[in-house]
């Protein structure tokens, strides 16, 4: 007998605070179903009010996603943040919701920094006058301390980040997500709802990456998250010795541009491989500031422009 999971099994959790908790078709088979459906009155979520208020002073809230790990979400988020904040009149924030693998303190050169708490909330850590960030990385006693948390606890921290961090007035809040389509992604979408401006999806050209990226795009469509577009990272490499270009991660299916077109999603452009991007990422430096005239800097500037026009 063939085993196939029915479509029903893939319906999404309505949320433990929802009125449908435990009663929705999606709940069947979930280990938490009994508890959710006990009929304990669901109190209105008081955090939502506080979150709404925090978000009200932020113009654009953009989440950077990918179904796949290691495609460069944190690198793209960081370099985009650096690039957008080159205009000193534009205030930019970067929120790292990758609880298990928080890279942002490293990529912004803020390792060892601490979060200060004042009467008006948690203060984000500043890179420059108009660029700040928040990450669990700043709350850990050691950088290599693992965060071994199950979903509910991760959700709790994301909720705290949204409720407590005093961003102030921002033009852009970029949200760096972990790979996948799980707790963190559901939480951020459920907590921010219509407040989210849109999603930038990062992919690499390989089919194995596009396989997961398609799922992510379908996730966005399913939860009603507007798609700003797809970026193809690690797209092409120019050998520094012979100056010839080659593809590191070839695709048998035409890469991210073709996939984006097939899924009715805008294509925001490519970012080529330059080992100096890796060095900047590891050292917390802005690539565009360091290598303004290089092709990859032009690509980052173009990406920032596309986002500002959304």
């Amino acid at each position: 007998m063939y085993l196939k999971l029915t479509r029903r099994k893939f319906l999404d959790c309505p949320g433990t605070n929802s009125e449908d908790a435990g009663k929705s078709e999606a709940c069947q088979g979930c280990p938490n179903q009994g508890i959710c459906s006990t009929g304990i009155p669901v109190a209105p979520d008081s955090d939502m009010e506080a979150i709404r208020e925090r978000m009200s002073t932020i113009k654009n809230k953009i989440i950077i996603l990918s179904g796949k790990g290691g495609v460069g979400k944190s690198t793209v988020s960081t370099q985009l943040a650096f690039t957008l904040s080159r205009d000193k009149n534009i205030e930019v924030g970067l929120l790292d919701i990758d609880i298990c693998g928080p890279s942002i303190p490293l990529t912004l050169g803020l390792q060892g920094e601490q979060v200060h708490c004042s009467g008006s909330g948690w203060q984000p850590v500043f890179v420059s006058e108009n660029l700040c960030a928040m990450s669990i990385g700043f709350l850990l006693p050691r950088a290599d301390e693992p965060v071994i948390w199950r979903g509910p606890k991760k959700n709790g921290l994301i909720r705290q980040f949204l409720r407590e961090v005093e961003w102030g007035s921002l033009e852009y809040l970029l949200i760096d997500a972990p790979p996948g389509t799980s707790d963190e992604h559901l939480s951020i979408v459920q907590l921010l709802k219509e407040d989210l401006t849109g999603a930038v999806v990062v992919a690499t050209p390989q089919s194995i990456s596009l396989l997961d990226v398609r799922k992510e795009i379908n996730f966005c469509k399913k939860v009603g998250l507007p798609l700003i577009g797809v970026v193809e990272n690690m797209s092409g490499f120019v050998c520094q010795h012979c100056k010839k270009s080659s593809e590191l991660f070839t695709s048998s299916e035409g890469g991210a541009e073709r996939m984006a077109s097939a899924m009715g999603c805008p294509f925001l452009g490519r970012i080529s491989v330059d080992p100096r991007v890796g060095r900047c990422t590891d050292s917390g430096l802005s690539y565009v500031d360091a290598y303004e005239d290089q092709p990859v800097a032009v690509q980052f500037l173009s990406l920032a422009k596309s986002i500002s026009f959304f």
Binding site: N32, S103, L139, D144, C239, L248
Partner: protein, 319 residues
């Protein structure tokens, strides 16, 4: 007056696990949003742990392939190791279990993308790639490969439990388990369910840059915390050989000394490095067996050495 947020008050210590006898009751649980739910549920060890132990009794070596970081090549390396182990000894049986629920890559990498899983009286039959190499993944259970699996932790844990307790592997010499990045539900569940079944250890995959090593150090620490033996670290995408001029380039510069230095610092074995070969990447995309088709590739040569070391480490434990 400003104060430093070091331990935000409602984020407690490490979760004992929702299945633990202490679930909801440990001091660590205070303040956790799930505390009441855990405390009200049935306490005691999950019967699944015993089921998994019985099911995996005939599996000699159970190896987790981990990395704190995504995209370093866990799935590729798992597939490479499994193909290599199966090819070097046709009498040994090898299998791959893909527990990356959100991003299952193994069906594609192993070239069995549209296969189906059969269910018999003795359990779920894995999909066979070769006579002595089989695979199980949630990828086989989806109606379409583009279906997003948008599940929270508890549901993912349920699936992992099923995979570990219901797949009829038969007699195996090696079961390699491909995991998603991170140190969360899937990793905790896998280590809990395998705790009585005798986990041989973990192979950790990384790339050379610090942004990857940062997460990999956490993963190694996780292994120490949950008492999983680290069999060794593989450094993937270590160097790129330009197909035109054959000169070497570092795509992901090892700004802090790479995996070898990290292994020395953390006193874990270094199994070896694999270069970045776009042909291998393409073969993985197409699910082809590059070990038999590209035996002279530097990747295949390096892989041979890594597998030798891995087999030695696994067998030394048996003695």
């Amino acid at each position: 007056m400003a104060s430093t947020v070091e331990n935000p008050t409602n984020i407690p210590e490490h979760c004992p696990g929702t299945d633990s006898a202490n679930a909801g009751k440990a001091s660590a649980c205070a303040g956790c949003p799930n505390q009441q739910i855990c405390a009200s549920g049935p306490a005691g060890p999950d019967p699944g742990i015993q089921l998994v132990k019985e099911r995996l009794e005939q599996v000699r070596n159970k190896v987790l392939v981990l990395s704190g970081k995504g995209g370093v090549g866990k799935s590729t390396v798992t597939a490479m190791l499994s193909r290599s182990l199966a090819a070097r000894d046709k009498d040994s049986n090898v299998a791959v279990l893909d527990i990356d629920i959100c991003g299952p890559s193994q069906p594609r990498v192993m070239g069995v993308l549209n296969e189906q899983v059969h269910q018999s009286g003795s359990g779920w039959s894995p999909v066979y790639v070769d006579d002595n190499l089989s695979v199980m993944s949630i990828g086989f259970l989806l109606s379409s490969p583009d279906d997003a699996v948008i599940w929270r932790g508890p549901k993912k844990n349920g699936m992992i439990r099923q995979f570990l307790s219901e797949v009829d592997w038969g007699n195996l010499d090696y079961l390699l388990m491909d995991t998603p990045p991170g140190t969360s539900d899937e990793h905790l569940s896998a280590s809990t369910y395998l705790s009585q079944a005798g986990l041989t250890g973990a192979v950790i995959v990384t790339t050379p840059q610090e942004v990857a090593l940062l997460d990999v150090r956490k993963e190694i620490d996780f292994c120490k915390k949950v008492k999983i033996r680290v069999l060794g670290v593989v450094e993937n995408m270590s160097i790129f050989v330009c197909p035109c001029c054959k000169r070497l380039s570092e795509i992901f510069p090892a700004t802090t000394g790479g995996a070898k230095k990290m292994c020395e610092e953390l006193n874990v074995p270094f199994l070896g490095s694999l270069p970045l070969d776009p042909t291998v990447a393409r073969y993985c995309d197409e699910g082809k067996d590059f070990i038999s088709e590209l035996p002279n590739s530097p990747v295949v040569q390096a892989l041979g050495e890594i597998v030798k070391k891995l087999v030695m480490v696994c067998e030394s434990r048996e003695e």
